[in-house]
Symmetry: C3
Subunit: 286 residues, 3 copies
């Protein structure tokens, strides 16, 4: 059970951990490979570079394996699938799981297509450290993994019915299954490790007017996963996106301007500013 | 036969239809899937978002079919072909044709390569609602489809020999075959439904100094094809590109600045401003 | 043996040749096809357009062959390999070699993956006109081609131990094998034809904070290879990147702003300014 005192302690603990993750990334420039779609691949790489990471994108199974073993974390985004992914995706997921490498999954468009369904189904066993998606994707993935019927969680204090909060049960169920974290993107973002749910505030309406805000958040979250556990990585990625989005949005009148300003803000955001981006913590009643 | 009076009526009819198409897109954010090349795929998506649409890009046959059935229109661009397109392109074109879904074809680099020639030949039967290309592509596609020997059209009032007007006969022949519209991009753009030819004015020389102005115009035209017939969709896409290009070009000294300004102007252009972008109508003598 | 007089003559000769190459490209807009990775493909094309060239990217063997025969030079970048490249890469390299077409190779991530190793090994016989990479890639490629054991060169006046200079022996060995040029990118760039080593100054630390500075330099070098020999093409590409990078960096506070400014500066750089970008010449003792 939480109270004001423990929540305040938890808030400070989270802020310190965010500062540590951001500082470590800026100091070490960790290489984080990705398998990601061709639509937003350039933005994913530039966002990873902007926060201090280093990017490498691959398609082939043996290259994915080699980079998975070299990198501190890995990003898998199933948008825009190519035929070779039928081999690459399950192979790299197995390698990552066997070597206990943290990896971030973005289950883009779950439900469409045989290959995507097969790959996402297989991923249940390989337990991605962080799953990041919009509310529909998180609900659909929990359904695909048959976690939605488990009724394993109730969330205290969630009474609105907006789409992000409607994904809370699914997000908690997924996090409990993987033992990692789940991030749900929307007007207010939600991050959970299965025991607490954090709501993170900020962003801009322009983030839906450019392609790749979500994809690149997944890539950035994987960068932070080299320097912290899944929950803090997901929170840090969400926080820097909300911070940079709010700052860039305040100066922008149109989407292309916003994208430039947003990447600049990702680069300029300090560890302290990211940690101070507003969030609220709620415990999950099991 | 046209005269000042009927041309003026037609002009007003077109303007009203453009206002309706733009307004409907901004209100409903229609999802328009694409099969398009990796070079300009990001710009296509961002341009579709900027005018109010929603983007989804795919490679695999079953994903293309699923999205074709979900979307209000589809965009096919044959630049940068990948091997899987040998299956995907004819499959999705057949699905679109059978379900009477409007689709826009950009016959990039028609004439190069076995797969491209085979796919573009097959498309003759599946009758793309709008064909958009530069003059050489339109002439070459009419030749590939053996429409250029039909001598089915003469265009009144076309006396210049610039490359766009040199494609007028081919454009009219293609439009008559498909029963849709054809848009030819160049210094002055041409749009025809086989009965009238509209010349649309504006743009910027910087549009040839960035990659993807043509590709993204095809994607934007497909967005408007969810909200109007092929002729108005082609005209609306051409008009917003000429408007945004002229506005962005007036403020730009170099291409990267132009691309940012251009996407911003696509986003900010009002339905009335797009409809008021200058154009001239000529009837085709059959 | 060089002295002040001959070095000064050589400097002026190089400057005149750079002016000629840049001027010819701006006048003729040469089409330069590429096989390159999906991560930075858009930046490669836009950089080629910015300096005055024309871009065309392909994946399939027969398209690559057709464009190789049409183009004045070709760019091959082995980042982000797709399965079809197993056929395309050796095929196009053989065609280019047999038709004596200049081509630029960027051996991205040499050492990772079976397909990349096989392709890069085969390229030894097809002698790319220009090889462009970072120091590690140049050293690794010389190793893969077993040129590093030849001890064929010593470089006078190179006494620092930074990574670029550490690749000097490998770069000279590669250039002597191909009979072309090698460019090594780093804080100070190095270009050699196997007889002289030129160090080119400029750039910006932001070039490592955006993805594709190196890839697009390869593409731009291929544009200049249509209008000059490999050594001048490599020098001209390196010079315009150092010039535009320094100018853009001076006005930029963050990476996305830098990328826009950089492309703008590529477009605006005059032939004389590019030729005047600082460089130093050293002869290689054989």
């Amino acid at each position: 059970m939480s109270n004001v005192h423990t929540t305040s302690d938890k808030t400070e603990e989270i802020r310190r951990a965010i500062v540590e993750a951001v500082t470590a990334v800026k100091a070490t420039h960790p290489m984080v490979p990705s398998i990601t779609n061709t639509i937003t691949i350039n933005l994913v790489a530039n966002a990873q570079l902007a926060v201090g990471g280093s990017a490498a994108m691959v398609y082939l199974p043996d290259e994915a394996e080699a980079l998975a073993l070299m990198g501190g974390a890995f990003y898998v985004n199933v948008g825009g699938l190519l035929p070779i992914y039928e081999e690459t995706l399950p192979h790299v997921a197995r390698v990552l799981h066997e070597h206990a490498k943290p990896w971030v999954l973005d289950p883009v468009a779950v439900g469409i297509g045989r290959l995507r369904t097969a790959a996402l189904s297989q991923f249940k066993l390989y337990k991605p450290s962080v799953i990041r998606g919009n509310a529909s994707e998180i609900i659909a993935l929990a359904g695909l993994w048959q976690l939605d019927g488990e009724d394993a969680s109730r969330v205290r204090g969630v009474d609105s019915v907006d789409s992000v909060t409607s994904a809370t049960v699914a997000a908690v169920a997924l996090a409990r299954w993987t033992g990692g974290a789940v991030a749900v993107s929307g007007e207010t973002d939600l991050v959970t490790d299965g025991t607490v749910v954090v709501r993170s505030f900020g962003g801009s309406h322009f983030m839906t007017k450019i392609t790749g805000a979500g994809c690149s958040l997944g890539g950035v979250t994987a960068v932070y996963a080299t320097a912290s556990g899944p929950f803090i990585a997901a929170l840090t990625g969400t926080a820097v996106y909300n911070l940079a989005g709010r700052r860039a949005g305040a100066r922008s009148e149109a989407p292309a301007q916003f994208q430039t300003e947003f990447l600049n803000e990702l680069y300029q955001a300090s560890a302290e500013d990211i940690a101070d981006n507003p969030f609220e913590i709620e415990e999950v009643l099991s």
